[in-house]
């Protein structure tokens, strides 16, 4: 949620300069946030059942999505700062 909020704030700021950049950031952040919600719900269920059944824990898809969101914010922020110059 905090990553998504940060991305949306950045998208809003970027929209002042170019609405296309703002829309691209917002849509990409929305897609990644929805993927994170879906994967984390599934991951919670898998981990809970894996712990009680003595089975392997879920994989690293969720960390990858979170990092993609952080890198999206970082890349978009650099573009935003440089475009504003």
């Amino acid at each position: 949620m905090s990553c998504f909020g940060c991305a949306l704030l950045l998208a809003r700021l970027a929209a002042n300069t170019s609405w296309i950049i703002g829309a691209v950031i917002a849509l990409a952040a929305l897609a990644l946030a929805l993927a994170a919600v879906r994967v984390s719900a599934r991951r919670y269920r898998q981990a809970a059942s894996a712990l009680s059944a003595d089975e392997p824990l879920p994989d690293g898809t969720l960390p990858a999505i979170i990092v993609a969101l952080v890198l999206l914010i970082g890349g978009a922020a650099v573009v935003f700062i440089l475009v504003e110059l």
């Binding site: 990553c3 700021l13 089975e55 994989d59 690293g60 979170i66 990092v67 970082g74």
Partner: protein, 130 residues
Amino acid sequence: MKLTERNHPGAGRRWPRSVFDVGTEPDPRFTFANERTFLAWIRTALALLAAGISLDTFVTKFPEALRTAVSILLVLTGAACGGLAYRRWMASERALRLNKPLPAPVIAPVLGYGVVLVGVTFAVVLLVRR
């Protein structure tokens, strides 16, 4: 607890394969501790990103070139923190599975030097502008 891939066929399909295709299942408490460390680095990365964006957007009393440079430094440090956190999560999980020593902390120097650089820059600007 040591669960083998042979005993759990589904375990081989987990991603990234470079992590989960090797070794044996570690104690779940270690896996969860590794994830908590990863999430702590992500929070740090997010704080740095937010600081960089806020500095560029809301702080107007600093010289523009310096403000931009420090903003970009903060944002790049934040992005590096995020990327390196994922690498560290993978390396630690792999080390746990192989029962090897944990990897050296690569992110700590990046964060430490980045924050020191930003702090020194701010201190110099504040002193010069007095």
